[in-house]
């Protein structure tokens, strides 16, 4: 089992979700975050005081997949989130020790 953490541009969320659903994945968790990489921020001016806003709004998607679906899932996220412009985001993959479905107490891949 692997956990995918993907940080994407917020307006790409629907496309990423559709791409993942299309390959058969049924769940994910989404958080609103702020961050920056190499994409620069923008300046705002309030009554003559200039602020450089470094932290840009992004969306973080967490999902856990079985090993055999990992590659397809990553490809789906890339396909849905890519714009080709700077700031598209990043995908990280982490190992997962176990998973449990709370309602039925199933464990392992069945619980994904």
């Amino acid at each position: 089992m692997k956990k995918i953490e993907a940080i994407i541009k917020p307006f790409k969320l629907e496309e990423v979700k559709s791409a993942l659903v299309e390959i058969g994945l049924e769940g994910m968790t989404v958080t609103e975050v702020k961050g920056f990489g190499r994409q620069k921020g923008h300046t705002e001016i309030y009554r003559g005081s200039e602020y450089t806003v470094d932290f840009l709004p992004k969306v973080k998607i967490d999902l856990v997949v079985s090993d055999d679906r990992l590659e397809k899932a990553v490809q789906a996220i890339v396909q849905g989130a890519k714009t080709g412009k700077i700031g598209d985001g990043k995908i990280f993959v982490l190992p997962v020790e176990s998973s449990t479905r709370i309602r039925t107490e199933e464990t392992g891949d069945k619980a994904l």
Binding site: E44, I45, Y46, R47, G48, S49, Y51, T52, V53
Partner: protein, 485 residues
């Protein structure tokens, strides 16, 4: 065909029934013509807002004027609660939004108590026979009831007049909040305001608006300086604005000022507050006529023109400078226009109002955008830039644009003719008296705030602890959070 029959019948009927009276000799004239004349004169005085002496309507308020003044009082309170609370609240960071609101609420309650006990009398009494303070006859609002105080108005209940003026007394210190926002302890501010009211506001308001006032050109025939201030350019905006500057310098900058971003947390709230300020200002300006009359009508018009023109001018200036017209710019411009027209609104005409609006959109704009970056003072919400600079500008421009065509009191023989105001107005030298009044206001506000500010700083300290300031005053001073998600 039937449409003309009914009117014809009515006219004929009227003719039939009225002609017998006209064909007789004239009815007997009432015996007490003089008494009737006096009564009619009293009612005419009500309509014209003049003295009803000798009639049967002395010592009672005029319903229309009283109604308008009660509405105006509510409008001016609305400017503070919630107008200013929202305007300033939206401009600070989330963690301090409630502190601004608490400061407005606290000042409202505190000043009301001071006004009831001593303030009203110190401003509008006269038994001290002093040009700098009024009197003691109205302490605890003794004798303040439904009857008009004819020193100030023939037709407005003194109780209503007292409440109207209270709202001015409330909003003036509330404006100072803008300069010290996010880094002054609540209790220090309440103590400062208490002292400031006695040392600055009550004397200044008496000097400008009291019947024995030092610089009340329109109403005190013995005024030393015949300056004019219709709704409070000196009393409200200059006093609060310049005091705010001094206090913010004594306080020092917010932690992180200049290095950390501190943008407004909600321009939505700020804009909503601006709308409330504009609407409420009609009570502030037009209500300062203390009657529902032609002068109030003119003030209503000039206020509207100045506010709208200033708002648009500020936006145009921003567009030229930055290629973006911001919401904050529109809001600041509108407020600046309202500030600058405040002393002038009852004395200038439409043209003057428009010219004042243009100046208001440019001079405070420059003050806010440039002065702060040049001198690096942390006037958090631009109280100095808008109210001090705007109020001073307005007081001066009043000297240039005031015209007796807009307000005959500027040249009336009974007062303006005696204290020199009429001469100044007709020789276009009113600006000289205005400059004198400006200077006195500046001196009083600055010196008093230096003394009060440093004294309080030494006695109890003004700022919260750095960790408290970091955490935000909402939790540390008030135990509350503005937004709970």
């Amino acid at each position: 065909m039937k449409n003309w029959m009914l009117p014809l019948l009515l006219v004929t009927g009227l003719g039939l029934f009225s002609s017998p009276a006209r064909s007789q000799t004239a009815a007997p004239i009432p015996a007490s013509t003089a008494a009737l004349e006096a009564r009619v004169a009293g009612l005419e005085a009500y309509v014209k807002n003049s003295d009803p002496a000798g009639s049967k309507v002395t010592g009672v308020p005029g319903p229309g004027h009283n109604a308008w003044m009660m509405v105006s009082s509510a409008l001016v309170l609305f400017m503070t609660l919630p107008g200013l609370a929202l305007f300033y609240g939206g401009l600070v960071r989330t963690k301090n939004v409630l502190s601004v609101m608490a400061q407005c609420l606290g000042i409202a309650g505190l000043v009301t108590i001071l006004w009831w006990a001593l303030g009203y009398s110190l401003v509008f009494g006269k038994n001290f026979n002093c040009p700098f303070l009024g009197g003691s006859e109205y302490f605890f609002l003794r004798g303040v009831d439904f009857a008009p105080n004819t020193d100030y108005s023939y037709w407005v209940s003194q109780s209503v007049f007292c409440m109207y003026q209270l709202m001015f007394a409330i909003i003036t210190p509330a404006l100072i909040v803008g300069a010290i926002a996010e880094r002054m302890q609540f209790k220090a501010l309440m103590l400062f305001v208490s002292a400031w009211m006695f040392v600055v506001y009550f004397p200044l308001a008496h000097m400008v608006w009291g019947s024995t006032g030092f610089m009340n050109g329109v109403w005190n025939p013995q005024a030393f300086i015949p300056a004019v201030d219709f709704a409070g350019g000196t009393v409200v905006h200059m006093s609060s604005g310049w005091s705010a500057l001094i206090l913010c310098l004594i306080l020092g900058k917010r932690i992180g000022f200049g290095t950390e971003p501190m943008p407004p947390h909600s321009l939505v709230l700020c804009m909503v507050g601006t709308g409330m300020l504009w609407v409420g200002w009609y009570g502030f300006n037009a209500g300062s006529a203390l009657a529902s009359d032609g002068i109030a009508a003119n003030a209503f018009l000039t206020t509207t023109l100045a506010a709208a023109v200033a708002s648009f001018t500020w936006a145009v200036a921003e567009y030229i400078l930055k290629e973006k017209a911001s919401v904050l710019g529109f809001c600041s411009g509108a407020v600046a226009g309202l500030v600058v027209i405040t002393p002038a609104c009852g004395f200038v005409d439409a043209t003057g109002a428009v010219l004042i609006g243009i100046c208001a959109g440019l001079v405070p704009f420059f003050a806010v955008i440039k002065l702060k970056s040049w001198f690096r003072y942390d006037d958090a919400l631009d109280t100095f830039g808008v109210h001090a600079v705007g109020g001073t500008l307005g007081a001066l421009l009043t000297g240039f644009f005031a015209t007796e065509k807009a307000n005959p009191n500027l040249t009336v023989a009974s007062v303006a003719g005696k204290n020199g105001l009429a001469d100044l107005v007709s020789s276009h030298k009113l600006w000289i008296a205005q400059i004198e009044a400006i200077f006195i206001t500046l001196a009083l506000s600055i010196v008093a705030t230096v003394i009060l500010g440093y004294t309080l700083k030494a006695l109890i300290g003004l700022r919260p602890a750095p960790e408290s300031e970091r955490q935000g005053l909402d939790t540390t001073d008030h135990g509350e959070e503005g937004y709970v998600y």
